[in-house]
């Protein structure tokens, strides 16, 4: 029983890493007032670039760097169109996902079925010997450890540093921030870029560690789930742990039922659950925040014009 639960918990963490990273990146972007619906596309491109770099160089470091940078590079397309040209942020994000999916499918075709580098679980000495907790949290891939560090770091930067204050000011009231001498365009561009790096890293995790290999559908909507989780965790990186774990937990249950061939819940219902649960979470958040002020950055999705 304890063994089963430990197993489920360990897989839950493993399954939540990509959503967690993408969510935190999305929070950074949205806190600056830019909505980027292109996370799914950036994750796919990151997954492909990471896998391809690993395949050709056999170097895990190069692979991770390439995947992360690819996500960041694609995000700059969104930054250019929404910040420099003031295009509609919803449409531009959707276009980014379409473009990213197309690029990944097109460039990745020759790599289907190939082998690349694999980043395996790396138990942390001593910590992983702690009963249950060690197995669950400290017998994971380096990506999970990176997430353990990056998530609190993102929170700290956003809420405890001057940089974070400026970033949030731009997202809450770009005009006032501008009057106070903040470079709104630059702040937003960098925030979008950092969000892209996170999404790229999340994708790299999928293709190098979680399900090593390249498959065109390998993100399976995790980028969209991340966008919902941003709302769920009220734009706070620390709460993103819980949102991502919800998703990871359901995925782990799915594995568990499959592994033990239990027929408690039909498999197609299990497959639907992460999506249905995400919708449920959105409903809960909306229902509970009806009479309160929304936690959303006030200038989210609003283009900034200096000359008006």
């Amino acid at each position: 029983m304890i063994e089963d639960l430990t197993f489920i918990a360990q897989i839950s963490i493993k399954s939540s890493v990509a959503v967690l990273l993408a969510t935190v990146g999305g929070i950074i972007t949205e806190r600056s007032g830019v909505l980027n619906l292109g996370i799914e596309g950036m994750m796919l491109v990151g997954a492909l670039a990471g896998f391809a770099a690993g395949h050709f160089t056999q170097s895990p470091m190069v692979a991770v760097a390439a995947g992360t940078m690819a996500g960041g590079a694609l995000s700059l397309v969104h930054a250019f169109f929404t910040i420099a040209l003031r295009s509609n942020q919803v449409l531009s994000g959707l276009a980014l996902t379409i473009l990213g999916t197309g690029l990944a499918n097109f460039l990745g075709r020759p790599l289907i079925g190939q082998t690349g580098v694999r980043i395996r679980q790396l138990p942390i000495p001593y910590l992983s010997d702690i009963p249950v907790i060690g197995e669950v949290f400290f017998n994971q891939s380096p990506f999970a450890y990176a997430a353990y560090l990056l998530v609190p770091l993102a929170w700290f930067v956003l809420f405890r540093t001057r940089t974070g204050l400026v970033l949030r000011a731009v997202g809450e009231d770009a005009r006032s921030a501008d009057v106070a001498g903040v470079n709104v365009e630059l702040t937003r561009t960098l925030s979008v870029f950092v969000g892209g790096l996170f999404a790229g890293l999340a994708g790299t995790y999928l293709s190098l560690s979680y399900t090593p290999g390249w498959k065109e559908t390998m993100t399976g909507g995790q980028g969209w789930i991340a966008i919902a989780m941003i709302i769920f965790c009220t734009w706070n990186p620390l709460l993103a742990f819980f949102g991502a774990l919800l998703f990871g937990g359901l995925t782990a249950l799915q594995f568990f039922f499959q592994a033990t061939s239990m027929d408690l819940i039909p498999s197609y219902v299990l497959k639907m659950l992460p999506y249905l649960l995400t919708i449920g979470v959105l409903v809960l958040v909306s229902a509970s925040s009806r009479h309160r002020k929304s936690a959303s950055p006030a200038d989210l999705g609003v283009p900034f014009y200096r000359e008006l």
Partner: protein, 357 residues
Amino acid sequence: MIRVAKRKQPLRYQGAVATFSAVAIALVVGCVIFAALGVNPLTAYTAMGKGVLSSVDAFSEVLVKATPLIFTGLAVATAATMMLWNIGAEGQLVWGGIFAAGTALFLFPGLDGWLLIPLVLAASALGGMVWSLVPALLRAKLRVNEILTTLLLNYVAIIYMEHLFYGPWRDPAGYGFPGTAQIPEAAQLVRFGGTRISIGFPLALLCAVFLYYLLKKSIWGYQVQVIGKEQRAAHYAGFNVTGKILTVMALSGAFAGLAGMTEVCGIHYRLQTGLAVGYGYDGIIVAWLAGLNPLAVPFAAILLGALFVGGEQLQSVLGLPSSISLILEGALLFGLFAGQTLARYTLTFSSRSEVPS
């Protein structure tokens, strides 16, 4: 330093300028991709053009692809007119297909065509409508963001459809092939000449005209447009915004459902993989390329259809993956944004940032 300033007077043919630049920019992006792959862009575009225009058969395939695109384009445009985002046309298309196949295979398998076809048609519209009403209700009653709910429901719809044709609906005589049995002949749409164009195509055109007049000539359409442009004004004018969200999304879902019907009853004749190939997402591009004008939607759909058929040609002639059309689609949309900017603003390039006069 690039400076963006609003034009004093907007350009006269804003929409046309934007669409034209979208195509131009997509063509340029295509050139870059082909060149990067070591393929002469001219050779590639010639192959695409030949594939589309060389014969009646070839061009008829463009209209075959355009048929579902018109429906999903109308679906997205209907919702977007009221500033609602229906990213769920894919899932609504799937439910339209499920309802169409279910009606033809299991509910009324023995009916004559003149009775069965209208029933299948209504069923598919209903299927799409039911699926779009879930996010519509959540949006109208609880203000749940419809972008995410419509999108996430796509995954649910596809998983359910796969469950149906891998499981309970699987053709018992299909040698384990995932898919339902063929729908009865009475439910198969009439095709024109020797082509694969079915009556679904003129039906799609009819729907475009219908939506145009509905939006332009009815009080309902007028209110929808006002709500889309000025939500607050509409509120003060006493328009029933909640009710409009439901009716607009229902109509939007019905259009997408019809796309599923024309695919199942006009092309595949069964429910199988290949129904959800992204027409729902392509509808977003169709709608915005058309500037949300229902009468322009068929043209945008044909343009995209030509892109798909051309992309398939690239695969068979030059051996390039046909997913290049997906990249060009993305480029088309980004090109549209650039075009919109050009139409609305002037760009001035200067070496230093200057104080605006």
